[in-house]
Amino acid sequence: MYNKILCVDDDPITLMLCKKVIEKSDFSKQIDTAHNGEDALKYFDNLKNSLEEDNNIILPQLMFLDLNMPVMGGWEFLDIFSENKYHDFFPELKVIVLSSTIDPRDIEKSKSYSMVIDFLSKPITKEMLYSFSNNTQ
């Protein structure tokens, strides 16, 4: 069971669904959300600031990321995140792309980011989370 995970999606219903499914399957103790890439970056900026004050703060270990979002999409977020050394502050963070895209190029592209560990098709289900936990643990 994870301590904290982050779900990024512009669709509030998807976020709600994520929360519910994760809660029901006891996948994580805490679930934070963001509405797009920029929102997620802000979330990590805040965390960075908090880290300087308190070293014991709980950091998200896993992140569910949608690709198509307004303001800043998933790809742009991943680019900025890896370029601006966010990874130095959050070395444990892994990303699962959770999208409804069917474009095969997207799946290929996701493999080029080292922090992306999986590409899942919506909707998120309990079975999905179980098999994921079983595979990682």
């Binding site: 669709d11 669904l17 499914v21 409804s100 895209t101 095969p104 919506k122």
Partner: protein, 573 residues
């Protein structure tokens, strides 16, 4: 001779008469003969003695004369023979056919040429004027005879004419006939002698050349002939241009003939090819290139230009022939086509993008619905009505989801022209298919006959061929006859470099006459079955074709359906 004979008789008679008179005179004057009887006897004896002497003298003279005339005749004969021989040889050498026409009698004599050149047998050759005229081509005879008779009337010595003369086999030869008049001292025409020359070959060659010439003069391509320069510095000179040249370039032939060929070259904008062109001209090789050229009025046009080196009899390069075709229209079309292709490619790309976006936008809320329904499943619902509503809601959502997924598959198949292929044993694929359909097979209990080669490997995409066979198999199982036992026979064989897979069942069949064009269409359903979406055969066809194969159907309502799939046994295609 006759006159000589009479002359001799007269001389003999006169000699005898004179001798008789002399003897009479002599007897009367010198011998006195009283007796009448003696007188007669003297005369007789005298005449008998003199007569043979006279005869001998006369015969001697005749003999001498005869001898002279025989030698003369022999000499004349020899001369005549030689002259005749000469005439024959000359006639042979010129292969002329000689004729001799006696105008008074109409008699006609031919030499051997009429047999050799025209193939007539000796006995078939006519000996009159009519025969000659009959053999002249009807189209030529009138014109020819008018000319001939006016010539005879005017008594000019030489006559010549062209006409067609019939051979023994009925074909015509072109001839050139020359004749001379023979006149007596009073300038009356008595004979005409002519020589016929066979000019068929020349005439045919002439016509052939004329025909060839029309190709050059009538063609829409320009033809330019240039003389090769003898020295390096000297530039090739234009010796001929055809009418099309003037039409295309705007230059009259007068303006360019004799001029340097490079004046035309300068108009070309062949920046890239100019080096190669110069090289090829130097090497004297055939060369074709396309260039933008300018007319005299400055208008530009595209040409396809071919340069061909021509050699003379001694195999020395003597001329260049350059043929130019105006390809402006084609170039324009090519441009349009390229433009169209790029436009279509862009449109296609846009559409593909559109389909991805649309499917994404459809899938996003749909996945939410599915996800939410999954959550609802775990919550117990007391209200029966709500339970029914939720169940209907769930069914519809899943149906929508399946349809969207099928469509997504179609898009992916259509979008990937080069799919991954691997060596596949069809039998193995079927085992997989049977596993997936074990429930339906258990229910329908079909008799399945398989004629598959265990070792035969086909290069296909594994998931596609699986999906194809799964679709066909499940169709057979679903649409079986409610009464008859379902029989399915599957066979695969290698024919040449093709693999033919046949899939045959005895199910309810499809009315092909009504649905021929729709069988493999999108969203075509032929039976009112609740779980049919009308997508299976469309997918099958798309998948078969994406692997370079073909599929055909043969079906009879109430008898069964046969699908024939043909794949090429080629790794690369």
């Amino acid at each position: 001779m006759k006159s000589f004979f009479y002359k001799s008789i007269v001389i003999y008679f006169l000699t005898i008469l004179i001798l008789a008179l002399i003897s009479h005179y002599y007897i009367v004057n010198f011998i006195s003969v009283n007796d009448q009887l003696f007188y007669s006897l003297y005369i007789f004896i005298f005449l008998i003695i003199c007569s043979p002497i006279a005869l001998i003298i006369i015969f001697k003279t005749i003999d001498k004369k005869n001898n002279d005339s025989i030698t003369n005749l022999k000499r004349i004969n020899k001369d005549l023979y030689e002259s005749n021989e000469r005439y024959d040889i000359v006639a042979k050498a010129t292969s002329d056919t000689i004729w001799d026409w006696d105008i008074k009698t109409g008699g006609f004599i031919w030499n051997k040429g009429i047999q050799g050149v025209f193939g007539y047998k000796k006995e078939d050759v006519g000996d009159n004027l009519q025969w000659w005229f009959e053999k002249i081509h009807p189209e030529d005879s009138l014109k020819m005879s008018v000319k001939l008779y006016s010539f005879i009337e005017q008594k000019t010595e030489k006559w010549q004419d062209y006409y067609r003369f019939m051979c023994a086999d009925g074909t015509y030869k072109y001839v050139f006939d020359r004749g001379f008049l023979v006149m007596d001292d009073d300038r009356n025409v008595i004979r005409m002698i002519g020589a016929i020359q066979d000019i068929t070959k020349q005439k045919e060659e002439e016509q052939r050349l004329k025909l060839l010439e029309t190709v050059i003069t009538q063609t829409k391509d320009t033809v330019i002939i240039t003389e090769t320069s003898n020295t390096e510095k000297e530039q090739p000179k234009i010796v001929f241009v055809n009418p099309a040249f003037s039409k295309m370039t705007g230059y009259k032939s007068k303006e360019v003939i004799g001029k340097n060929a490079t004046i035309l070259m300068n108009k070309f904008s062949v920046r890239n090819d100019i080096k190669k062109l110069a090289e090829v001209i130097k090497k004297k090789e055939e060369f074709t290139f396309e260039a933008l050229n300018k007319r005299k009025n400055g208008e530009q046009y595209w040409v396809n230009l071919t340069m061909i080196p021509i050699t003379n009899k001694d195999n020395q390069h003597s001329h260049w022939i350059s043929i130019q075709r105006d390809i402006s229209v084609e170039k324009e079309r090519e441009k349009e086509r390229e433009h169209l292709i790029s436009e279509l490619t862009q449109n296609n790309k846009d559409l593909k993008q559109f389909s991805y976006i649309t499917s994404h936008n459809l899938r996003a809320p749909l996945s939410n619905l599915t996800g939410l329904l999954n959550l609802v499943e775990d919550i117990p619902i007391e209200n029966q009505e709500l339970k029914e509503i939720i169940s209907g809601f769930s069914k519809s959502t899943h149906q929508l989801n399946e349809t969207i997924n099928d469509l997504v598959n179609v898009i992916i198949i259509k979008d990937s022209p080069s799919i991954q292929k691997e060596g596949i044993v069809i039998k193995d694929v079927f085992e997989n298919v049977f596993n997936q359909l074990s429930f339906l097979i258990g229910v329908k209990k079909p008799i399945i006959k398989m004629d598959l080669n265990k070792d035969q490997i086909v290069y296909l995409n594994k998931s596609y061929i699986e999906s194809i066979l799964l679709n066909l198999m499940s169709n057979s199982l679903r649409y079986c006859d409610p009464v008859r036992q379902l029989k399915i026979s599957i066979a695969s064989k290698k024919v040449g470099n093709e693999t033919i897979i046949t899939f045959k069942d005895n199910g309810i069949g499809i009315d092909l006459e009504r649905n021929k064009d729709k069988v493999f269409g999108l969203y075509q359903r032929f039976h009112d079955y609740p779980d049919s979406k009308g997508l299976g055969l469309y997918l099958v066809k798309s998948q078969v074709e994406s692997m370079g194969g073909t599929i055909s159907i043969d079906s009879t309502v109430g008898v069964g359906t046969t699908f024939t799939i043909i794949f090429k046994n080629n790794k690369d295609v």
